[in-house]
Symmetry: D2
């Protein structure tokens, strides 16, 4: 039987960034197989072309080698090489019936974990072994809950099919879309997702969530012509002039009277030396809106500005989507089921009527959307976890008591839906 | 016989801006006719479509009415209505032979003339009667010399044909091109042009000139969509954002290692009210270069920047040429003839070997170019005139003693070429 | 007795822009005097230094002469010369008591009125006689109601003091502040303001209003150094470079998570000619926010950007406030009084419980604020007027049946407060 | 006795970037000592604060370790730790007399050396062992000549003092200034510098040089405030908005009518992630001019633009000089001595009367200036070296036959000056 705490701490010590969750996903594959699940993973679980913000081949390979060194199963690993780190475990009940999916995300963040004495993982000696990476958003807990649920359900009778979806690269809203595009959600009738923490105390459970913004993350690349800045400046095509013009004009996109919007150029890098007309530049841009339609319009405006900032200076350019999410609408029926099944779980003391509220972004949104488009129903829940520091903070943590609560909640929901 | 001083002072009192030289040109037509010249003028002398920087119809009409009120011949005037103010006087000699052209420009500047006591026209009571306009570049003198030469040659025997070209709108380098495009220079074998003043003292004559820069003057118009800035900013298409972006990027066009260049956005105007997204904007831009080819490249860069500044903000736009000139290359043979004929003119005390040097621009350049392209020869001379203040200054003037010198010089050159 | 319809149509025919309401204000002064009011006007009613966005002396004087020509009383007019067009009429009751003020605005807009057959003023032959100006925001109706109320109250017994405030230059939110600064509101215990139209049908009356935004209108002037763009560009200090930089950066001021904001650079003008480094430039900027504090922060950001855009290019600059308004908070007690007194007025069929909502801006806000700061109470009401076209539209109009309703409403409120 | 060819090839194989010439400088120190020179080096030879564009501590330390691994003397190395890689060798003659200095530069470039078969160092197996670094500007040859001269002069009688100055970080014009500021040139009466190659064939020697431009290289750092771009954009202070504004405005600095200028922003980098308001940005800027005064004016304009671009967005900033050079004026007397002493050197077949011409920049210029300011005399010579590819090219090389020519030339000049 799984030792939930040990598992969580092991994952916490080995935090892997988006699309490099080789070791984590290997453990998931191994565990699911040992529990009798059919397991789809590697290129079978994720559409390569639809992955957003994929790391460089160098980074992918270094992470791969690191996973090997840290004990991951080489055969399983081989199937995921190149950043194919999604896993789906399938368990069929005795009778045919609806398909119920749960989704768990596995990736960590590029944050240096605190080693202060008041940081729980430091006290208990399970801080990150991978310098610069940290599970600072509870995905170690999510993965643990996912495997805990896998175990719990493997010992139950039910009607229909269980699908446990372990997704890579939720940070930067990059990975869910590629599993959706691979069709992993196409046969799902009911989908439940959840997040641990979110400033909600342990023992409190929200059956639904509101407020997630549509967002698009774009990378723009400008390619000009280098030239000696003293000898022949007129022969250059200045990529930084194009990029700086784009930056100012992107920030000048107007406010919308129809609702809140956001625009940011988060990164701009270009040029090589004082005396060279800059040949290349690169920008990372983000748009957000309450409305998916307005967000698309913002994205289109950004693309237009980049196109013409490049054209103005005789530059070539590309724009690629490196992340994105859409708003989330939870089905009332699922929210109610979740709330009802929360009643009586040991340690649960509050089940608010109101949905939780967040202005963040979540790429599980694509999964909910696909299920709902096909006539299914879905919700996104919050599992309170008394986080002592905000998400993405070097001292972020969740109370481990929340883990068995989460497992039990998913188990009950599964049996309710598939009874 | 013409009273040169009176004529010059009358013209000085009635300064007319480019393409509105109705009164001036009427006097030229009348005088040439009275001296026996065939006179081509109005739409016969100038190609309407090729006029650059034409004033608005309102301005053209107001100037027309003013000329009527100030005694211009209504019949002559009628033929020039709408800004057709070029005149060509033709006189054929007894025998056929080459065609020799002289060119004189007639327009004034939008400058308020000084009424200080030390200003010669004020002392002698012939300052401008047309408020805000002034002959501050000696074109009143040029026109006077032109008519003086017309008179002097009407009494001479010669072989071939004399063509006296009186051009509008030299200021802003706008008018010569339209007379060239009408074909007025197509049959010319020899062309002499001259400028009075230019910081050269009375009695000094230069047979040629060097250094005139190629230049282009462009007007750009941006058309967006107005919208209430508070209620629906997202529905606007902001013409001023496009124009400001163009302005900064035009100034950022690189220096050229191949020689001096200049760029200026001289005017930017747009928008109507604080609370309206600006619908229209307008810019005036100037490029200059020692090299005609580089100037064309600068013009192309400006056009590209405007196109994409507009496209970036969803604007329509137009760019029109409102002025232009090319470099001047004087033929050595003509320079020598001019220098030789300067010898012995009363009042002339210096005939430098070197050509005069200026980094201004001159649209007579188009006339020289056309003659030279057809195998003819041409030069651009300087007639010293001891100007007490710089050109385009409210106290600019030229010493009237320079006028008979100029007339006599042109007369001698004509007889030398056409003997 | 006043003929309300005739009066309104006469005012409609003579629309005068902000601070040039010479004829309108003269009629107000004359009428109030004839009804027995003490009248304060000219420099006694308005603080000269506090007027925002005052027209040029030339415009002020031309409008003054026009008013003279259109029959305004020369003696009254003389006291208002120079743009002092505010009027206050004071009527004291038999016994001392509180001071109640009503405010009416008198100015028109720079809009060309429609002459289409379906436009009511055209059908009834009272369209604007002043080309380019139009009463397209119902201030002709406001002034008419004000004088109608003046007449109605002159025949009533009451306790305390009536103050009828006729303000100039509400458009552009420029005039109220100067009357407040002159102290006109300092002794006021109760203030009622109202607007006709606002997409509310005739017969519907709102006792209060919500949503008016804080706004600031700024004019920025940049002063550089002119220089010949070909000869000595390095000697110039380019005012348009500064202004274009300011424009782009003002538009780049971030969105606020605390509520809606707006930013616009509505006008930019600078430079004189293609070949001159631009010496001067001028911008008109507008900020808006739900929050007065955030609006101040936006104004401060705009000022900082202008300061440094100027400094960057060696320019001198000034920034002046040319308009402004603050949010409006209506006192619940006054709203209720207004709603109660609306009951039973002939023609009134609906008195909504909810306040009207608008995201415009109103400079009466300064008057409400001053009264409230002194412990008084105030509200801003809406008088439905079935406007067939939006405010500020060439076909804007209000149903004249709304005028007697408005007069009666104010009359009843006065007698309720001052009984 | 030194094997010149072996020495040059060893240096070529171990190219070290500016301020990391640990191994190279160690060899110089060792050799000079073995020849009997007094050697000043480390912090005694270079002013730490005056070093421009010093690499990071990490880079300095890694290079230091690399030098250790490649056989540099640990004791000598220890004195240079931290980027103190300048060396001065002093040899006194039998009698007191003037001080003569020669200057040699030692650093390499961040260029990947060609391994093509037609590249001489590849053919002879001495291409760079340090990946990404290359001696592509002949400084390996300069150092070799310097040591060859040291050896040649150690066996000669002379009057006065020889000073051999080996400077770091000439690339980017960063190192000479710090040796000047340490006083290394203060007692020098005569200074000769030289460059190999420069498109001049082997056997041709120029006694002087003309045309080197004044230049300044600046690094600007902008520091703002990070904030979540979705949650609280208004709390950020956006370093990239400031930097982009600076970039556009720096490029908009006007052309100068007084002579050629150049401006470039070669590098811009800022921001960390799509959803964070960028906190930091960094720019590298370069100005150039024929005139030192105009170059100072350009630098001042750049500084002003940076100051106000920062101020506009509430940013802190610093600007530091990371490189610079001034024009070079060679003393006619020294040019003649150099030309006279070139006569008769084996392999020399051409000694042009004209100085060589280059529009590059050289930081030896600071050394010439210091000597000349103190009343001394100096020149900058060219030693032809038949380079098959341009300087800074992956296939750059110099003909090794030029090395003994250079050594002999310096030897003869020394004996002429110090005889």
């Amino acid at each position: 039987m799984l030792n939930i705490i040990e598992l969580r701490r092991d994952l916490h010590q080995h935090p892997e960034l988006g699309f490099t969750e080789y070791r984590t996903a290997s453990i998931v594959v191994q565990t699911l197989k040992s529990l009798g699940y059919d397991v789809i993973y590697g290129q079978d679980a994720i559409d390569g072309e639809s992955r957003r913000g994929l790391p460089s081949e160098k980074v992918l390979e270094e992470s791969y080698q690191r996973a090997l060194q840290h004990g991951a199963d080489p055969d399983i690993l081989a199937k995921m090489r190149g950043g194919y780190t999604g896993v789906v475990g399938i368990l069929k009940g005795k009778h045919s019936g609806p398909t119920l999916a749960f989704r768990f995300d596995m990736d960590a963040l590029p944050i240096v974990e605190s080693k202060d004495d008041d940081h729980f993982p430091q006290q208990h000696e399970f801080v990150s072994h991978f310098p610069g990476n940290m599970h600072a958003c509870a995905h170690d807990g999510h993965t643990t809950i996912g495997l805990g649920v896998a175990e719990a359900l493997s010992q139950q009778d039910f009607t229909g099919t269980i699908k446990l979806i372990f997704q890579p690269a939720e940070e930067g809203v990059r990975g869910a879309y590629a599993m959706v595009e691979k069709g992993m959600l196409d046969d799902v009738d009911y989908l439940f997702c959840a997040h641990l923490g979110c400033e909600v105390p342990t023992g409190q459970l929200h059956g639904g969530t509101k407020g997630y913004l549509a967002t698009t993350k774009l990378a723009a690349h400008f390619h000009g012509v280098a030239s000696h800045a003293g000898a022949t400046p007129e022969k250059g095509r200045n990529a930084l002039l194009g990029a700086a013009t784009a930056l100012l004009n992107i920030h000048s996109i107007p406010r919308y009277s129809t609702g809140d919007t956001r625009i940011n150029v988060g990164v701009l890098e270009g040029g090589t030396a004082a005396n060279i007309i800059p040949e290349h530049a690169r920008m990372i841009i983000e748009t957000r809106s309450e409305s998916e339609e307005v967000n698309s319009e913002l994205e289109q405006r950004v693309r237009t500005i980049i196109e013409h900032s490049a054209g103005m200076h005789g530059l070539e350019y590309e724009v690629e989507i490196v992340g994105g999410a859409i708003p989330i609408t939870c089905d009332e029926e699922m929210i109610q089921i979740a709330r009802e099944e929360a009643v009586g779980i040991e340690g649960v003391h509050m089940i608010p009527e109101e949905s939780a509220y967040s202005t963040g972004s979540e790429d599980a949104s694509y999964m909910l959307r696909r299920v709902q488009e096909n006539g299914g129903k879905a919700t996104y829940m919050i599992i309170g976890g008394s986080n002592p520091a905000p998400h993405h903070h070097p001292k972020f943590d969740i109370e481990e008591a929340a883990l068995p609560i989460g497992i039990e909640w998913f188990r009950r929901i599964a049996l309710r839906i598939l009874r």
